[in-house]
C-alpha cells in the first residue's frame, strides 16, 4: 500500500517533471545568469542616479554593453571589485562620495525678505520671487533634500538646515540635483577636512548686510593657511582645495564669521622624547606655537594649542614627532 502510494506520487512527479522539461525547452529565455549576480551587488535603491531606469536596467546595461562604466555613485567599492570579477573587466569605482551642505545661515542668521505662503517645498518656494530668504544663495530649509533622499541620509535639523548622516549617505547625488539653491555638493568620502559653509556670490558688503555667518571675503583664511589650500576670489565665498588641505583648522580659528568648519577630528602631535634632539624646528614651523621646550632638550606639545595640522611631523629632521593614537 505504502509502496503504491509512493509510486503514485513519484509517477505524478515524473509526469510533471517531463512536462516542465519540455516547457523549459520550448519557452527557454536567454538570461545571463550573471545579471542576477550583478543586480544583487548593486544597491537596489533604484535611485536612478546612474541614468538608467533602476538597478535592474543598469545591471543589464553593464552586461550588454562592454563600454558601460560603473556610474553608480552609491555602490560600495568592494562590490565594484566583485562586479569587475563577474564581468571579467576592470571597472573604475567612482569612489565613495558624500554629500556636504554649504550653508550655515539659520533663520536667526539670515532675515527673510517676506512671508512665504505655499507648499513647503524648496523648489516650489524658489519659484516665488526666488525664495523668501534674503540671501539668494542660502538654504531655504524646507527639506526637499530630505524628501528626495532614497537612503534617509539627510535630515533637516532644528535650525532648519540639512545635516548629512555620514553612515547612510551613499553620494547618489539626488539631493544635489534637487536643491534649487545648489548648496549641496558631492565630495570624496575621506577628502574634505575643512569646508566653507557658504557659496554666496554677493558682494561682501551685501553678505554682511543680510547674513551673520556668510563668507565676507576677508581673506583671513587665505592668509593664514600654511598650505595655500584656501582661495578667496572677488564676490565669491572662499573655497578650499581639498587635495591641499590637511585639516589643520587654522582657517576655522581665524574666520570672523565662523563659516569654515572642521569636518574631521585631527589627531594631535606628540614628540617621542628619546628621538627628539631639541632642534626647535617644530616650534618654528608650528602656526599655533604648540611645541614648548628649551634648545637641545626634548620638546613637548601643548595639547591645548595643537590642532593636529601635521606640519611639524613633516619638518622634524629626526622623525621624532608622530600623531597621537
Amino acid at each position: 500500500m505504502t509502496l503504491l502510494a509512493a509510486a503514485l506520487l513519484g509517477g505524478i512527479g515524473l509526469v510533471c517533471a517531463l512536462v516542465l522539461g519540455v516547457a523549459a525547452m520550448t519557452f527557454a529565455v536567454e538570461m545571463d545568469p550573471r545579471e542576477k549576480l550583478v543586480l544583487d551587488l548593486l544597491p537596489g535603491a533604484n535611485c536612478g542616479a546612474c541614468g538608467y531606469a533602476g538597478c535592474a536596467a543598469f545591471a543589464h546595461a553593464l552586461l550588454e554593453n562592454p563600454e558601460t562604466e560603473m556610474v553608480c555613485p552609491a555602490i560600495h567599492e568592494n562590490d565594484v571589485k566583485k562586479i569587475s570579477e563577474i564581468l571579467e573587466r576592470k571597472l573604475a569605482s567612482l569612489g565613495g562620495m558624500i554629500a556636504s551642505v554649504c550653508c550655515k545661515g539659520t533663520v536667526k542668521d539670515v532675515a527673510d525678505n517676506y512671508i512665504y505662503e505655499g507648499p513647503l517645498e524648496c523648489r516650489a518656494a524658489q519659484l516665488i520671487a526666488g525664495g523668501s530668504k534674503a540671501c539668494a544663495y542660502g538654504c531655504l530649509g524646507l527639506g526637499t533634500c530630505e524628501q528626495v533622499c532614497p537612503f534617509d541620509a539627510i535630515h533637516i535639523g532644528e535650525d532648519h538646515l540639512p545635516y548629512v548622516d555620514k553612515e547612510k549617505c551613499t553620494g547618489c547625488g539626488k539631493c544635489v540635483i534637487a536643491c534649487p539653491r545648489h548648496i549641496i555638493r558631492l565630495a570624496p568620502f575621506d577628502l574634505p577636512k575643512c569646508e566653507v559653509r557658504c557659496i554666496s556670490k554677493d558682494s561682501p558688503k551685501e553678505v554682511k548686510k543680510i547674513c551673520s555667518t556668510g563668507c565676507i571675503g576677508c581673506m583671513a583664511c587665505e592668509q593664514v593657511c600654511p598650505f595655500n589650500a584656501v582661495t578667496v576670489m572677488k564676490n565669491s565665498a572662499a573655497r578650499i582645495t581639498h587635495t591641499k588641505c590637511t585639516g589643520c583648522g587654522l582657517c576655522v580659528k581665524v574666520c570672523p564669521v565662523d563659516v569654515i568648519e572642521s569636518v574631521i577630528e585631527l589627531k594631535k602631535a606628540s614628540i617621542l622624547k628619546d628621538k627628539c634632539n631639541g632642534c626647535s624646528i617644530c616650534s618654528q614651523v608650528c602656526p599655533v606655537d604648540a611645541p614648548k621646550g628649551e634648545l637641545k632638550n626634548p620638546y613637548t606639545i601643548d595639547e591645548a594649542k595643537c590642532m593636529g595640522c601635521g606640519i611639524c611631523i613633516d619638518k622634524c629632521p629626526k622623525k621624532a614627532i608622530e600623531k597621537r593614537l
Partner: protein
C-alpha cells in the same frame, strides 16, 4: 516698512466657499431629515444625535492630537460624519453603540488614512456597516414612529417596510401583504427605520438645497435613484408577487439619505461628472441586487461602500477631455 509683506503664487484672492462653509451647508441640509426623526422618535433620537456628533468631534480632536497633526474639528467634517452616523442608526441605539460607531467612523474610517480628504471610504458608512455586522440585533431593532407627544413614552419596536418584505419572502416565498403600505407614510416619514432615513420628503428638500448651492451635482442622486427605480420597476412588472413596488424601494431603506448625502460625499465619490454617473449607476445596481436577492433588506450602505472602493479606478478611466483635445 516695519511689517513684511506676504508673497505667494497667484491667484491672491480666494472664494469664500471653503470647507467649513461646505460642511455648514451639508449640516443645514440634513436638519429637516433629523427633525423628522426627532418628531417621530422623540427624546432618544435627540440623545443619539447629540452623542454621535459630540463623540465624533471629541474623537477627532483626540486622534489628531495623538498623531501630532493640527486639530481641525472646526472644519465641521467630523460634525457632518457624526450627524450622518446618527441618522443611520436606530433611534433607540444604546449609548455605547453610538460611541463605538463614532470611534470606528473617525479612527478607522478617517484618521488612519490621514484625515479629511484622504479617506477612501465614507467614514459614517464604515461605522454603520461595521456595527451592522458586529451587532446585527441592536442595529435592526427599530422603534416604531409615533407622533411627538406620544413618542416620549416607552416605544414599541417593529420592522422596517423593506425588512418585513424580506421576512415575508424568506417565510412565505412571496411578499404578500407586506408590500401594501400607504406610500405617503415613507414619503413623510411615518415608518420604522433609521433615525434620519424615514422621510424621503425631508431628505429630498435637503438634497435640493445642496444642489442649488452647487455643493453636490445632480448626477449622483438622480442617477442612483433612477437606476434603483428602473430596475425594481422592471422586476415588479415581471412578478409583482415576488418584488415590491419601485415607489416603495425608492422611498424606503435609506435610499434618499444614501443618494443625496452619503454617495455624494466629495472625498469618496468620483471627480468628473461622467465618473459620477458610472458610480451612481453602480450603487443603484448593487443596491437592487442586495435588496431583491441578498440577505440584507436594504443594501444602500454596502452598495456605496463597495463603489467607494471602485472610485480610484473610475477616476482613472474618466479623466476630463482637455480643451482642444480629441473629443
Amino acid at each position: 516698512m516695519e511689517n513684511k509683506l506676504t508673497v505667494s503664487s497667484s491667484p491672491h484672492i480666494h472664494t469664500p466657499e471653503d470647507i467649513p462653509w461646505i460642511m455648514r451647508q451639508v449640516i443645514y441640509a440634513l436638519i429637516p431629515g433629523a427633525l423628522i426623526g426627532v418628531y417621530f422618535f422623540g427624546i432618544p433620537a435627540i440623545k443619539v444625535i447629540l452623542l454621535s456628533v459630540f463623540m465624533c468631534l471629541g474623537v477627532e480632536a483626540l486622534t489628531q492630537k495623538l498623531i501630532g497633526k493640527p486639530i481641525t474639528i472646526r472644519d465641521g467634517s467630523a460634525a457632518v460624519t457624526g450627524l450622518l452616523l446618527a441618522m443611520n442608526m436606530p433611534s433607540g441605539s444604546a449609548w455605547w453603540l453610538v460611541m463605538l460607531g463614532a470611534c470606528i467612523a473617525i479612527i478607522l474610517g478617517k484618521q488612519v488614512y490621514g484625515g479629511l480628504g484622504n479617506n477612501p471610504f465614507n467614514p459614517a458608512l464604515v461605522a454603520r456597516v461595521f456595527l451592522l455586522i458586529a451587532f446585527p440585533v441592536q442595529m435592526t431593532t427599530w422603534p416604531q414612529p409615533r407622533v411627538f407627544p406620544l413618542s416620549l413614552a416607552d416605544t414599541t419596536t417593529g420592522a422596517t417596510p423593506l425588512g418585513s418584505l424580506k421576512t415575508a419572502i424568506f417565510t412565505y416565498g412571496k411578499i404578500g401583504d407586506s408590500g401594501n403600505i400607504a406610500l405617503m407614510d415613507p414619503f413623510l416619514g411615518n415608518i420604522g427605520g433609521s433615525l434620519g432615513e424615514i422621510s424621503a420628503l425631508a431628505l429630498i428638500v435637503g438634497g435640493i438645497y445642496l444642489i442649488m448651492k452647487k455643493i453636490i451635482s445632480w448626477h449622483i442622486p438622480v442617477v442612483y435613484v433612477a437606476t434603483v427605480f428602473v430596475l425594481t420597476c422592471l422586476f415588479w412588472i415581471i412578478n409583482p408577487g415576488m418584488y415590491a413596488s419601485p415607489f416603495l424601494h425608492i422611498t424606503c431603506g435609506g435610499l434618499m439619505l444614501g443618494a443625496f448625502f452619503m454617495a455624494t460625499d466629495m472625498v469618496t465619490s468620483p471627480i468628473t461628472n461622467r465618473g459620477k454617473i458610472i458610480f451612481a449607476a453602480g450603487c443603484g445596481i448593487i443596491t437592487v441586487v442586495i435588496r431583491l436577492w441578498g440577505g440584507y433588506p436594504e443594501g444602500v450602505s454596502f452598495a456605496i461602500l463597495i463603489m467607494n472602493g471602485l472610485v480610484p479606478l473610475i477616476n482613472r478611466y474618466t479623466q476630463p477631455i482637455k480643451f482642444g483635445g480629441v473629443k
